[in-house]
């Protein structure tokens, strides 16, 4: 029997970015889902190969507006790995603070959007209101509410001023009662329970099968967090714990994110206390030949950057893998069997961010066959690498 198709996208009020979910529905029940991304070709990786190492940090900040520091964080980690240097202690603390501030405002943003998708616009507006103080802190530290431009290979671009610390601490501590309010609103509201509990459940096995990362995985009880598993920045110098929840559904994901707000605040406060004085930059002038990888636990999960250097001024190859790319595929598992109403909040529960997830595939429209499949791309990449090696 032919099922009716409910399109979500490419332009849909649910999400502000172009993406396409084709829901095959039987009545209200979703029986199948096609996920299509790739509406926005930006060639970031290609452009990165034409910029100097220093400029690339500005470029990759523009991959995503929300996690605009995650990519520079992973990228600078990759550069540090390539160089084999240790970044000055103070720079590590500053990086960590910026990374955690970003996590707080990103989680608050998600919380608001989740409320909006449930038709609960009051939560939307309130969450975004309390996101403002976090952005104010970012502005005080970096000069920008977003796109901070703080990171550079071998350090950070600007220092933090000690006289700002009391104000930052006070603003953050003032936010904690607000977090309590959201915690109460989510954990005690019977209607929210009815709408989110047991909806879109991913089991531990599903998390493994789909290689889900970040809060989406942690909400299924999988204790995965790059900050803990492979410490970088100042994450091993402060006390904090990885938040997990065994529910696996939308409710669990919301709880994990709300509890992470407290952990992030905690990390920032500790960093402000422990931050040593000293240099913030190594002033790196030359890049050796080699390759490096960098990882960072972005608000949505692990973001991975690979840098290959041929000794020149700009990366010979820059590869980005963003967390949403892994998480969005898990919708296939989570959505099927639920209703259309639930589908929208399940799709949103992984905190999808399509702008970092766009990939290109060449497909023959008539036959539906991929002209270039995975094997072809691997071969192409090997040929290119070989060509570069011979060129050197």
């Amino acid at each position: 029997m032919a099922h009716k198709i409910i399109p979500i996208g490419p332009y849909h009020p649910l999400q502000e970015e172009p993406e396409f979910f084709r829901l095959h529905v039987d009545g209200e029940t979703v029986v199948d889902i096609d996920i299509e991304i790739g509406y926005n070709l930006r060639l970031i990786e290609k452009i990165a190969e034409s910029k100097s190492y220093d400029q690339v940090t500005f470029l990759i900040e523009r991959i995503c507006g929300i996690c605009s520091t995650s990519h520079p964080f992973a990228y600078t980690n990759a550069i540090d790995d390539l160089l084999g240097v240790t970044v000055p202690e103070r720079a590590l603390y500053i990086r960590t603070i910026i990374g955690e501030l970003e996590r707080i405002h990103s989680h608050l943003l998600w919380l608001g959007l989740a409320g909006h998708f449930l038709g609960y616009n009051t939560v939307w507006m309130w969450a975004w209101r309390y996101r403002e103080p976090v952005l104010d802190i970012c502005e005080r530290i970096t000069g920008n509410r977003n796109h901070y431009a703080m990171f550079k290979p071998g350090g950070v671009r600007r220092d933090m001023h000690e006289e700002d610390f009391p104000w930052i601490k006070k603003t953050l501590k003032d936010l904690i009662p607000k977090f309590d309010m959201f915690k109460g609103a989510v954990m005690d509201d019977p209607v929210i329970h009815a709408r989110t509990k047991g909806i879109g459940v991913l089991t531990k096995q599903d998390v493994h099968d789909y290689s889900v990362v970040g809060p989406t995985a942690r909400a299924s009880g999988v204790d995965i967090d790059v900050r803990k598993d492979d410490p970088y920045g100042a994450y091993d110098r402060v006390e904090w714990k990885v938040i997990t929840h065994n529910g696996g559904g939308v409710f669990a994901k919301a709880v994990v994110r709300i509890l992470e707000l407290y952990e992030s605040t905690n990390i920032i406060l500790q960093c402000l206390d422990k931050m040593p004085k000293g240099e913030i930059d190594l002033n790196i002038k030359d890049m050796p030949i080699g390759e490096g990888i960098g990882r960072h636990e972005a608000p949505r999960g692990e973001v991975f950057h690979y840098i290959m250097s041929d000794g020149g001024n700009s990366p010979a190859r820059h590869k980005v893998r963003a967390p949403s790319f892994m998480n969005i595929a898990s919708n296939k598992k989570a959505v099927i069997g639920h209703t259309i109403s639930d589908a929208t909040i399940i799709l949103a529960a992984v905190d999808p961010c399509y702008c970092c997830t766009e990939r290109t595939a060449v497909v023959d429209y008539k036959t539906g066959k991929k002209i270039m499949d995975g094997q072809d791309l691997v071969r192409l990449s090997q040929e290119k690498t070989e060509k570069m090696r011979r060129g050197r």
Binding site: G119, N121, V191, R195, I340, T344
Partner: protein, 301 residues
């Protein structure tokens, strides 16, 4: 004849109720905005919205049943005009007005806008509209049952009065139905039914913007959309007014404002419920409460 026409079209029918409805929608938007830390629109915003929509182009979907598509907004509008005229006249007319059984007619008329919306939306052939329609039908089935049951309470209490004006007179003599336990229970159920009839959060599954992009409204544009919106705003006057008439001893401004604020607060403190949850809510808890109210009324409580 001329007086009747005036009653239906100007006061207290179409023009008067429409103006009140637009003002009510402004209060709704303004209070919502203040609750959400926003500024909110100026008082004339709903009026210029209507004017703007009226001069926009109407797009008629290619595969739609055109007559149905065009007629159903008018059907809903005329129903709500009739209903509001009946209710207003019962409240403000000094001499005898209405007829025995007009409470039943008004009950039907208040259901018509939703049915007209269903007809109009299903005539478009849009898959999202059809999802909206199926939800709207389920919602009507859900909320009408407790709504009809609780309307028995005032009738039982007043030992069988079926005319709106008689009910008001009965209440001015014997005190509002609301002041009894059975009346209070029935009124509580009525408030939830009213929320669902108005299609507001948490019962707005039929037009859920973030799920099915306004569902039933999706293909409407221009003046037709303006009429649908106006119908909804007029329902925002007619329904609370109906409840006040039946349960609360006749109209006064403060009673209406209290009901409007309750509507707005419910709308702003709840997420949207799924349609199956809405049906379970109305057929379960609400119907049980309504039946208890009726039994209490029979017992004279």
């Amino acid at each position: 004849m001329l007086k009747n026409l005036f009653n239906f079209l100007v006061f207290p029918g179409f023009l008067f109720t429409a103006t009140l409805g637009l003002v009510a929608s402004w209060i709704d938007r303004k209070v919502t905005a203040r609750v959400q830390w926003r500024v909110g629109p100026p008082w004339y915003q709903p009026f210029i919205d209507m004017v703007k929509l009226s001069i926009k182009e109407i797009t008629i979907p290619k595969n739609s049943s055109k007559i149905m598509f065009l007629i159903s907004p008018l059907l809903g509008l005329s129903a709500v005009i009739l209903a509001s005229t009946f209710i207003w006249l019962a409240n403000i007319e000094l001499g005898a007005t209405g007829f025995t059984g007009d409470i039943i007619v008004v009950l039907y008329l208040l259901t018509l806008p939703a049915i007209a919306l269903i007809l109009g939306a299903s005539s478009t052939g849009n898959p999202l509209a059809s999802v909206g329609v199926s939800r709207e039908i389920k919602l009507i089935l859900a909320y009408e049952l407790p709504f009809i049951i609780i309307l028995c309470v005032p009738i039982i209490k007043s030992s069988g009065l079926l005319r709106l004006q008689d009910l008001i007179q009965y209440q001015t003599v014997n005190g509002a139905i609301l002041s009894n336990l059975s009346g209070l229970l029935a009124f509580l159920v009525a408030i939830f039914c009213m929320q669902a009839k108005l299609g507001l959060v948490p019962f707005d599954a039929g037009e859920a913007e973030t799920e099915i992009m306004a569902g039933t409204y999706i293909e409407y544009s221009g003046i037709l959309l303006a009429i649908l919106k106006l119908t909804k705003f007029m329902m925002m006057v007619a329904l609370p007014l109906f409840l006040i008439t039946v349960f609360w001893a006749g109209f006064s401004i403060w009673k209406y404002v209290v009901l409007l604020v309750i509507i707005v607060l419910i709308r702003n403190t709840n997420p949207r419920v799924r349609i199956d949850q809405a049906v379970r809510f109305f057929w379960g808890k609400m119907t049980a409460l309504a039946l208890i109210a009726v039994f209490l009324a029979i017992l004279g409580k």
